[in-house]
């Protein structure tokens, strides 16, 4: 080695490399990370689009399949954005190879952005495929396409932050799966994926407003169908505030290397 030829430092390269690594990681196990969630969503579409959907109507002017598809797309986006970063970061902590990053000049900002962007890409890729499959069952009007894209991006960003937080706080695989089983799934199912909040009794409808997922799902549905329980600016505004809060939380953990460095 000619030690005197100092290699040139390229500031953006650590971010790009970490992003590349995270994308390659989920592509390498695409059968688990991309195909499985699409199959799950397709089953929901089959049940609610081709079978039960024909007999149910919850919003005037739309079939049940049209009503449920935005929620199913967003469910794929949310679950996969969360899982991508949560499993990757937790495994790195668990197996100890996180030190490979801790000894490098990857900055906290680069760290968060790389994990977040990779998680968003996986979440949005699953969402896109679910939408394409849903075209077999119903056509959506795409009332506000840019708003729909913005809402999907915001949802994936928000759950990527939550994934970082969960991966850092989890002590083992069981506690990590508790975030999915006891927080995300109940919030999704009670957040209006399968029914409009307006059909609930007043108390339950009010309680649903405390569910952060309700704003994401309702906003996304409004963007796709043109109808929702809340005005879009409210849904988007609440989701944006939640995303910023979780981002600040995750950024604080990463910048302090909380539970990463001794």
């Amino acid at each position: 080695m000619n030690r005197h030829q100092e290699p040139q430092f390229i500031a953006w390269l650590p971010f790009y490399t970490l992003l590349q690594k995270e994308i390659r990681r989920f592509l390498r196990v695409a059968s688990q990370t991309l195909v499985t969630p699409v199959i799950t969503a397709s089953l929901y579409l089959f049940i609610f689009g081709a079978t039960l959907g024909e007999r149910i109507s919850v919003i005037e002017g739309f079939s049940y399949a049209q009503f449920v598809i935005p929620g199913l797309i967003l469910m794929g986006v949310i679950n996969n954005s969360f899982s991508n970063v949560a499993s990757s970061l937790f495994m790195s902590r668990y197996l100890g190879n996180i030190v490979d990053l801790l000894v490098t000049p990857v900055s906290p900002t680069q760290f968060i952005m790389a994990y977040t962007l990779a998680a968003m890409l996986r979440g949005l890729a699953v969402g896109l495929v679910v939408w394409l499959i849903s075209c077999l069952f119903a056509t959506l009007p795409w009332a506000h396409p840019f708003a729909a894209i913005a809402m999907a991006c915001l949802a994936s960003f928000l759950f990527a932050q939550f994934g970082i937080i969960a991966a850092i706080h989890a002590d083992n695989f069981d506690s990590l799966s508790m975030y999915t089983n006891f927080i995300i799934l109940p919030l999704i199912y009670l957040g209006g994926v399968f029914y409009p909040i307006s059909i609930l009794p007043p108390l339950w409808a009010k309680l649903s407003h405390l569910n952060p997922l309700f704003y994401l799902i309702d906003g996304f549905r409004y963007a796709l169908l043109g109808v929702g329980d809340l005005p879009f600016p409210i849904s988007f505004g609440v989701a944006l505030v939640m995303a910023l809060v979780l981002f600040c939380w995750a950024a604080s953990l990463i910048s302090r290397s909380y539970r990463l460095r001794n």
């Binding site: 080695m1 000619n2 030690r3 005197h4 030829q5 100092e6 290699p7 040139q8 430092f9 390229i10 500031a11 390269l13 650590p14 790009y16 490399t17 970490l18 590349q20 690594k21 390659r24 990681r25 390498r28 196990v29 790195s92 197996l95 100890g96 190879n97 030190v99 490979d100 990053l101 801790l102 000894v103 490098t104 000049p105 990857v106 900055s107 290397s257 460095r261 001794n262």
Partner: protein, 308 residues
């Protein structure tokens, strides 16, 4: 004036009320091979982890080529390559992929010629496209050295690189370490194989219970702290030990035909030989040997806390 490769000042680290590293200070000059030795739990890995940035500094300071490793951490991390004691790998990738990724984490473009050289010198070529999980323990260690060097660090830290590896790999590793040292890379290594430290290191620091108990050039350590022993084989047995022998200790074996004399570093072998002749001992043969670093190490670490 050239900054030291590593300057540690009053470094301390406490875990749950126990001092893992206690007020440690030393410097390593550019181009040195520096050995940090000590028994398990002495604080070596904690020190290395603080230098590398894996563990937070408790108190004190660490400067790497003049840059503070806390306030200028993004610079110092580029200057340091670390091979950790534990095998740290990402099972998703092959050796080739992981080396390319690791250069990128350091903000360095992949240098194909340098990567190829590491692969060739460390014998990684036949396994280049295997995922990590399929590699043997020795091959993982070779990969970890390549990984630590992929960004051409100025300071290479090797934390027990030969722990649990076979003799052939050990020789390969040390040959390679000498080679990159000759080309300008400063080396900080810890090892439990003291013979290796004796052969490799220009200077040696010994830690025990978090304290620095010795810091000398290897030759000084061996010369000043090492004892020598002399075996005197006699033609006819003797029953009693001779009087007034100027040495640290004298033992006579059960047959009465071999005397074991222990000399301190400052004692003269010539004078002792002359004295043995003067008292007319029936000497048949004489063997002398110097204490190894291992014996010095045991003597120092078992003696408790002795300040340098």
């Amino acid at each position: 004036m050239t900054s030291p490769a590593l300057a540690i000042q009053n470094l301390s680290k406490e875990y749950d009320g126990t001092l893992a590293v206690n007020n440690l200070s030393f410097t390593i000059e550019p181009g040195e091979i520096f050995g940090l030795l000590g028994p398990n739990g002495a604080g070596k890995s904690t020190t290395i982890n603080m230098i590398a940035g894996v563990t937070r500094v408790g108190s004190g300071s660490i400067e790497i080529f003049g840059f503070d490793n806390q306030s200028d951490s993004r610079i110092t991390r580029r200057l340091v390559g670390v091979m950790h004691q534990e095998i740290v790998i990402d099972n998703f990738f092959t050796i080739d992929q992981a080396l390319r990724l690791h250069a990128g984490y350091y903000g360095v473009r992949d240098d194909a010629a340098w990567r190829q050289r590491l692969i060739d010198r460390l014998g990684l070529k036949p396994h280049l496209h295997k995922v990590m999980i399929k590699l043997s323990g020795g091959m993982k260690r070779r990969f970890m050295i390549a990984k630590a060097l992929i960004h051409k660090p100025r300071l290479l830290i090797l934390d027990e690189p030969t722990a649990g590896v076979d003799v052939e790999l050990r020789h390969t590793l040390w040959d390679f370490v000498r080679e990159i040292n000759q080309q300008g890379t400063t080396i900080l290594l810890t090892t439990h194989y003291l013979e290796e430290a004796e052969q490799m290191c220009d200077r040696i620091a010994i830690m025990n219970h978090g304290d620095l108990i010795a810091l000398e050039t290897t030759s000084t350590l061996l010369k000043e702290l090492g004892t020598r022993s002399m075996l005197v084989h006699l033609q006819t047995p003797i029953k009693e030990l001779p009087d007034h022998l100027c040495c640290q200790a004298v033992e006579l074996d059960d047959t009465g035909t071999t005397l074991r004399l222990t000399l301190s570093a400052s004692q003269s072998t010539g004078e002792l030989l002359k004295h043995l002749c003067d008292i007319n001992l029936p000497i048949a043969d004489i063997e002398t040997r110097k204490a190894s670093l291992e014996e010095i190490f045991l003597q120092m670490t078992q003696a408790g806390r002795v300040k340098p």
